[in-house]
Subunit: 351 residues, 2 copies
DNA sequence: CCCGTATATGCTCACTAAGAGTATATACGC
DNA sequence: GCGTATATACTCTTAGTGAGCATATACGGG
């Protein structure tokens, strides 16, 4: 509501030099877009649901399901999102949470100021890739296709040492635009921290920071499309992951960050799992999302000790070895602990 | 950007039953409001900056600084927020981060459907209460005036046992509206978890959940104003904290939640501190925000061991005892650790 | 001037959680 | 039947954290 925004009253009589112009239209020509990053894990591969559109000027075809928010038709932001996702993909979302509201990027992309400005509200949804109830449109794509530098499952991805590290280091040597206010952290340090260079630990949660740094350095296609000068300055700009249309790749990066962080203190992994699963399957799912730094015995102790799962009594055979006990999510843990999750801690420095 | 929202292209040709009506106005009549929860700590009291308006229909006068987002004038959401805050209070914000975008509450408050619908984007800002550069309007109010049940500094607040617990328990006995989909957690369990009843631990981060539960149960004034039936059903509804106009109290609750959580993994306390401070002052500030569950010696070991502070060499005398060493924030910690913060863990169950 | 008090600071101990290694059990395939 | 792959159990070590005790230093009152 924000009644004071609806033109009834001025905020405070004594207020300052400029008060909100509450008697005229608010935020003229601002559209609100709802974007869904729908995440699942299929065969140990973390995937996101994308729909394909016509290639844009940088050849990006992939789009996250989206649609404008209509306050008449949609009771809430989230229900609007669910409606759009259903209409575009046939999927009925389960778990969904709001991520972030973006409005400040890509203004350069559309110099035509008559076009409406858009604020996009990103959502994260978690679901099972198989047993998706009625998917009619869209494909599941590994999120590491868009962010190959995030895939540490087979060790440190080579793209970091070969492509990213040298270019970011040369970018760091250029002077950054001086910002007003406090002394900013030098670029070289930001690079080190973001990408875990020179002995710094790799922090798997910094997905968004890394993508934004690559954007700022002009190293992802979207930066070129948006007319960022840093992008034009490269003579040998590599292809760092698949681009997406609009700022959808940034929203997906936010979704990955949030998923990686939330899995540790809320039992959201189970949104990605079938009803029954073995502990090994659960571990593989967690590793698909976080990276493979998990010790099998400790993982087992962790999830059982935290009361996150309970055995069903059945076993799964044909695993290639001793049959594995089947488990299910133990819902009662929600009633017992304030923040249950797969509390794996950061891996040691692996460079 | 979001070019596909700007009327240039349809999302996907093969897309489903209904595609976004991109040829007409997007999200008609949606205004975007920017709201700032500006937090400081003054004399060991956590405070928020509010401006006073005319009383609304429930007598609420307090408003968070706010204003509509204007995409022409404001380069980014955050810069728009800073402009509004400056204009309304004279304050130049330092640290600010986005909290959440609200759109789904209080529709009942304004049955006049011709009034524009508003989406409000909440921001959290942290600053020093003293040395505020040029505050011309607005007052600092303890955030516990709005959320007295959150103030555990003198033990468990009596308002929980006297007012909240009995009423929430009787509310929990009423049947909740059955929701479609998965089996929801019973109200009684939600109450226990939210407010740490019956031996459950108090989780100081659940500020928003608690406020929303009180709203849902009709126990805060805003619920009555919004015409929630649960609010009308109470014959002896108590006054649970000061109400605010619009949904600003909810935004403040979100801000407190975020502050309490973020202080643990990012060095944001220092935004609230003067340049030089004693460890005891730092501890008191942390306790003002989180609650007083800190062991002095361990706190000291924690912040020094984490490299968060460094001694200035000076001491502060007239402390009533041995002079205390003065410290300052050690900025280099940002370059060393991925997630530096005052990593205090949850207090033991205290009921 | 000395001593009580309040605060600051240092040290130690116990308990727990987490990383990592070793050993044993059980099914499947050749 | 036996090798192999996987599941499961047990143990060791180390780091972190909660908590208590001891000591240092200034201020104020008798």
């Amino acid at each position: 509501m924000n009644m004071e925004l609806s033109g009834r009253r001025k905020p405070t009589p004594e207020t300052a030099h400029r008060t909100p112009d509450t008697d005229t239209e608010l935020s003229p020509s601002v559209g609100i877009g709802l974007n869904a990053a729908i995440v699942a894990v299929a065969e140990n591969e973390p995937v996101a649901l994308v729909v394909r559109g016509e290639p844009d000027r940088i050849g990006a075809t992939d789009i996250l399901p989206f649609g404008p928010f209509d306050p008449i038709e949609h009771r809430t932001l989230e229900s609007g999102l669910r409606a759009w996702v259903h209409n575009q993909t046939g999927l009925d979302l389960g778990y969904a949470e709001q991520l972030y509201t973006f409005a400040d990027r890509g203004r350069h992309a559309e110099p035509d100021d008559a076009s409406p400005h858009v604020v996009s509200i990103g959502y994260l949804a978690l679901t099972q890739a198989v047993g998706h109830h009625g998917l009619t449109n869209g494909v599941w794509r590994s999120w590491y296709q868009y962010f190959p530098w995030e895939d540490w499952r087979r060790g440190r991805p080579e793209i970091i040492a070969h492509e990213i590290e040298p270019r970011l280091k040369s970018w760091a040597e250029k002077p950054s635009a001086p910002k007003a206010g406090s002394s900013p952290i030098p670029r070289a340090d930001r690079v080190r921290i973001c990408f875990g260079l020179d002995g710094m630990a790799w922090d798997e949660e910094k997905v968004l920071e890394r993508f934004e740094m690559l954007y700022e350095a002009g190293l992802v296609d979207e930066a070129l499309r948006d007319g960022r000068s840093a992008a034009r300055e490269w003579t040998d700009r590599p292809k760092l992951g698949l681009p997406m249309q609009s700022d959808h790749r940034r929203i997906l990066a936010t979704a990955i960050s949030r998923t990686r962080s939330k899995i540790k203190y809320r039992p959201v992994v189970f949104e990605l799992m079938p009803d029954e699963f073995t502990l090994y399957e659960l571990q593989k799912t967690v590793e698909a999302i976080l990276g493979p730094h998990l010790h099998k015995q400790n993982f087992r102790r962790l999830v059982e000790g935290a009361g996150l799962v309970e055995p069903t009594g059945d076993v799964k055979t044909r695993t290639g070895g001793r049959p594995a006990k089947l488990f299910r999510f133990r819902r009662e843990v929600l009633l017992e602990r304030p923040a249950p999750g797969v509390r794996v801690s950061a891996p040691p420095v692996r460079n």
